[in-house]
Symmetry: C2
Subunit: 237 residues, 2 copies
């Protein structure tokens, strides 16, 4: 069952598809919607209070961004990135985000740095309080905010998609035991940005992304295990 009741239900003023897409993005980043979750049209209609057409169009968008798997006559499912796709997503992030960080460093003004710093405070707070869900969301949002500061909407959209897909990858390929907080690395990047040091920001971002990637257990056995569990639990339900 979809857990899109608390935040999502109350606002009945959803008009365009992008809003719905944004909501589902967030739910996936929070890992409220684990990979493989069925997204039935009827459920989404009820959850968002919109007609079927809106839902179907939103699902199409999500599908075109690799976040949802649209199967013919069988419905929509939260994507389960394959190992190969996971590697491609990380590769794309390493290609793009260091440059985003560089641009952010070149263009950040005092207000931007303050805003980002406040964001990192919240991130640390969530971490300290053990609010894992919030911590994950804020951590992902930091990367998107960097693209905002870089003032490039094209790249911002790309980062948004990649961050979301990374959440799916982490959901599948683990990082279960390990700590997934590189809070300090975010802070380091921000320091470089505050000093308008583009090269440093880019280098730190690349290292940060490599750490995230290493944290994920991409030895395919883990995926096997998860798949097995999924299969078993399907059989049991």
């Amino acid at each position: 069952m979809l857990k899109i009741s608390d935040d999502e239900m109350r606002s009945e003023d959803l008009v365009d598809e992008e809003s719905i897409v944004g909501r589902i993005y967030e739910a996936i980043i929070d890992q409220r919607l684990p990979p493989g979750t069925k997204l039935s049209e009827a459920t989404l209609c009820e959850a968002f209070g919109v007609g079927r057409m809106r839902v179907r169009r939103s699902l199409l968008l999500l599908s075109s961004r690799g976040v949802v798997d649209l199967q013919n006559n069988r419905g929509a499912y939260v994507a389960q990135p394959t190992l190969s796709q996971a590697l491609q997503v990380f590769e794309a992030r390493r290609a793009i985000e260091p440059n985003v960080a560089r641009l952010a460093a070149e263009r950040a003004n005092g207000a931007d740095v303050l805003e980002l710093s406040g964001h990192l405070d919240m991130e640390a707070d969530a971490q300290k309080k053990g609010d894992r869900r919030l911590a994950i969301r804020l951590s992902g949002q930091f990367h998107v905010k960097l693209a905002e500061v870089a003032k490039n909407e094209v790249m911002e959209r790309m980062v948004k998609e990649l961050v979301t897909r990374t959440s799916l990858i982490i959901g599948i390929y683990g990082a279960a035991g390990t700590k997934n907080c590189h809070d300090d690395e975010h802070r380091e990047i921000l320091t470089a940005i505050g000093g308008n040091d583009g090269d440093a920001a880019a280098t730190l971002m690349e290292r940060h992304l490599r750490h995230i990637e290493r944290q994920v257990d991409l030895s395919s056995d883990r995926k096997q295990r998860v798949d097995l569990i999924k299969i078993l639990s399907r059989g049991a339900s």
Copy 2:
């Protein structure tokens, strides 16, 4: 009137939205569909031989990729990138494509190099024969093919979008007088790829992109002129 009759009409076997999106991508790259062209649902239905739903979903996808401007109750128009958007697109290309070229250099095998070389031959041929339309299309496709060789579908999709949007930018901001053939630069990049020299490929790609960007007249007066012409021709028709 849409000039989607020759190539597009004959194949009535269009099933999924991505095919339609691909067709419109190509038409835009070829500059058969200039920026600002109205894409009415009825026309597209007839052109592609599909129902209205298919067309509307395709337009939504194109809109989400910045290639089409979807106006409320007013229909869909081929996007007219603003100056700011144009700069962002070029910025994104400079961020991504050098890395694509690097990966392509690292992963290209003999067959890939041969394939790319053949492509460049066709490009030179079209140039020589003065088939401007084909030359433009092939030139754009080269960038996409590099992403193919890099074996990263995520980045391939991004490059596809960026190349298409670049065609729109060129359509608006000119490159009217100047030669837009950097055929030799493509060849240089391929040489680096053939030698598995990732750094060289990346450097050459960045230089190539800067040349493309410089070729475009981003001094906003040009845009003004084009807009004026458009307004006048609208009044006259």
